[in-house]
Amino acid sequence: MLDEHWGYITDVTRQQRLEQAILRVVKPEDVVADVGCGAGILGLLCLRAGAGFVHGIDSTAILEVARETFLRAGWSQRIQLHRAKSQQVSLPERVDVLICDHVGYFGFDYGIVEFFTDARRRFLKPGGQMIPSKINLQLAPVESPACVALVDKWAQENVPPEYRWVRQYGVSTKHAVHLKKDEILGEPVDLGSIDFRDDHPDFFSWQAELVVRRDGQFHGLGGWFDCELTQGVWMTNSPIAEHPIDRSQVFLPISEPVSVFRGEKIRAKIMARPTDSVIMWEVEFVASGRKFSHSTWQGMLLSADELVQQSPMHIPMLSDKGRARLLVLGYCDGLRTAKQIESAVLRDHPNLFPSAAETTRFVAQVLAGDTH
């Protein structure tokens, strides 16, 4: 976790662009909500730019780094940190500025559409500003042996033959990759855009026609974003940009390479349901009529039971673990200590799990997750 946030904080281009946007948007004494704030760097930049108060929201333990950093930097009186998913947080006031950097690799693939929309509706003052304001999605045909190797790794010779079928999951996966300029087979095209100031449906469907600029092997689609932080300030992870931020792009493979020729047209369709983390991609080679269709849903490791549970007609029944959780929570009466709860569970339900050690671990886990 620390490594991930070290990567964000030390990405000079990202930092410069976001600081530029913050200096343009944040006015003295503005109240800011930093949604998915991580180590708090954007909130820190807002305070340096004159913000009066920052609400930092993040569901992970990295928030403790933010807390200590603000304390050491002398800003602790002007920050309130909320450890939860932003959709579960209620702020004590409306804010002037919403800021968030959860644009993932392809703009919409890290949850920003869902939680930024919720934050705009519940946290932002009328007329308030959002950073970023918009993302444009770009798509290009890709020839990349490195990406193919990623997709094919379960089919390699050092994998026992019995396991090579697992490659089918690799084909139905959104891969995070660092594309090189010479791996782009044709001009990137604008696939579509998402303006965070507007409401959106849960389902997106975009189409584009790609033109191949040189003979080669088509291995899949490359996707990235061009993000408008505020008017006139952009940030991109495009592999062909002069000053991209240090962030991967996505590679959406097809099941087998297809030879393509200069001038050949490829139709691509991307459908996405960001809330469910599902992306579907269709590729059609206009000249030959060959079509490929893949989705990340088909790449998810799901058991038969889990698949059946996804049906709205499925009638849920409490599992053994669910029953055990209810049982443990039943001892939380506001009087017993954690130790007393553990002792009571072990005494009253000695066969809850195969061993007392596992029961102890389970009780601790439930108490840590579901109580305060």
Binding site: D202, F203, L307, P312
Partner: protein
């Protein structure tokens, strides 16, 4: 729906098979649908391009069931899939 009816699957609809079960996801609505073993077999045959009549013939050979009952059940299933926009009926 008649004997020559075929189905096509809209691009936002996809299916996954695990064992004898098939689960269909309509990405546009975010809704999942489950098919039991017989429903999954109907789905498989008709997605491959078989007509309603051809699918019925195959299933009659595979299951011990009266032709009228089978036709009625499959018609109800296919119509239900069409009503939920999981398939498009083609004459």
């Amino acid at each position: 729906l008649n004997l020559n009816t075929k189905i096509s699957v809209p691009s936002q609809v996809m299916a996954r098979q695990v064992g004898a079960e098939t689960v269909i996801l309509d990405l546009a609505s975010g809704t999942y649908y489950g098919l039991d073993a017989v429903g999954a077999r109907v789905w498989q045959l008709m997605v491959e391009g078989q007509t309603f009549a051809q699918a019925c013939k195959v299933l009659l050979a595979e299951y011990d069931v009266q032709p009228e009952q089978l036709q009625q059940d499959i018609a109800a299933l296919v119509q239900s899939l069409a009503d939920q926009k999981l398939v498009t009926l083609e004459a």
